[in-house]
């Protein structure tokens, strides 16, 4: 599929120019990304606090009838 391969590559190369993504390149964004990575532990701590305490029973109890 030479034509697809070519156009895909071209697309990928020109995308940053055509569709500037303000967040990706900016220093604030990379700082935020780092913050998000650091944040993962505190996210998991938070989710620990709300996750159903008996996971096995919760999963077993979630039984649905089929729909459309």
């Amino acid at each position: 599929m030479p034509s697809q391969e070519h156009s895909r590559t071209q697309r990928r190369d020109e995308t940053p120019e055509e569709v500037p993504e303000p967040n990706a390149a900016s220093p604030e964004a990379s700082a935020r990304k780092d913050a998000l990575d650091d944040d993962i532990d505190s996210v998991l701590d938070e989710i620990d606090g709300v996750l159903e305490s008996n996971a096995e029973e919760f999963v077993r109890g979630f039984v649905q009838k089929g729909g459309q």
């Binding site: 599929m1 039984v63 089929g66 729909g67 459309q68």
Partner: protein, 507 residues
Amino acid sequence: MTVLRVMGIETEYGISVPGDPTANPMLLSGHVVNAYASARGSRTGQASWDYEDEMPLRDARGFEIPRQLADVTQLTDEEDPTLANVVLTNGARLYVDHAHPEYSSPEVTSPRAALCWDQAGEQIMLESVRRLSAVPGTAGVNLYKNNTDGKGASYGTHENYLMRRETPFSDITHHLIPFFVARQVMCGAGRVGIGQDSTSAGFQIAQRSDFFEVEVGLETTLKRPIINTRDEPHAVASLYRRLHVIIGDANQCDVAGLLKMGTTSLVLAMIEDQALDVDLSVRKPVSTLHAVSHDPSLQALIELRDGRTMTAVQLLWVYYEQAERYLQTRSPGAVDDDTAEVMSRWSRVLTKLERDPMECVREIDWVAKLALLQGYRDRDGLEWSDHRLKAIDIQWSDVRPEKGLFHRLAQRGRIEALTEDADVKAAISNPPEDTRAYFRGRCLEKYPTEIAAASWDSVIFDVPGQRSLQRVPMLEPLRGTRAGVGDLIDRSPDASTLLLELAAARS
């Protein structure tokens, strides 16, 4: 060419009673509908559904199946008085579909509006959960915006797109099947478990994909087809068809939801204009659909009938480039904002997915879910078969903001939002202003006691002093807008005045 067209989203919610897996889901779903409706002073029988124009057994390929041969779950047009069913002032339908509460959004004209009124439905479900949890002596009911229980049952999130009737159905199936095989990488909701009943452990991209077993067909509850042929236009049948898309997942990420509706609408526009000059027919669409879903690395190869192979992202790039070229040639410099937004999001997301799918962690449901699951796996060394990961998958979609894990991440600013809370709040009560849903919703709001029934394409009035019911047909989805009937409704104090004015306007 534009993403703008009449469209809507129907969402069936998973339902359960904490600690009681044997609770009757039909009855519970009825409670959910009634809890919302009765709080607004409407009995569910008061403005009931008008089934006259429902044709669930009419097939787009040009035939109708005899009723006695149909599976009982296909008979969606028979009124069951025990099942609750209301039309809301925002123009939506809230009812029990089989064993799930379902919210069918009003007709809207843009992907952004589709997101807004679908999220209004989630808020309506949340209100029911709150009301039922306050009933003394009961365990309450929990609702989940997902599409499978991981044990073999699936329930749908359907999209509807109004199309021109003259477009051959074979063109639709030809160009949409490859698109639907690949589309899931942009808008799958993620799932723990492989196979309909999760026979193998693992993570896959889409909730629904494993439940699709044939390429084209009329069924929605068994032998589900990639392309559903239900031909029930709810509009002038000689002019329009309603494409009923049953293959999507329920989205909570705005960007994924926008792309699901927007890119599909663009592909349909190109099909209608016969603008696609590529043949991307997939050799084995059903098994490929499953294979793509089962590979979160996005390296799975799709084999085309002509022998070429490409990944799902590469295949979507072809559709993207066709759309971009078509926009440039057909409407240079005149692309509306909604279309421009979808095109720019589309190319940005494909670029990221190609580089590293995890870059879409703020935009796409399956990526956001996978990142959380992977965090647990890394921290606690969990196998994919661990119950905790399955619990996270289910609880991800709990509609309660304090329990739903998606909502918890969104509250921490980890998900990119496109809708405004104030707009969603308004959409709970108010209809869209640019479709016939405006007429339906305003009439329900202003003349609730004088409406006997309503449907997508009719409102039936029961006016005091009139011997017979007055049925107002609404077969043109873009008539009955605020611009068309807003003043008329504003100045009509009751339904009989409105009907007289409508008759006068017609003559």
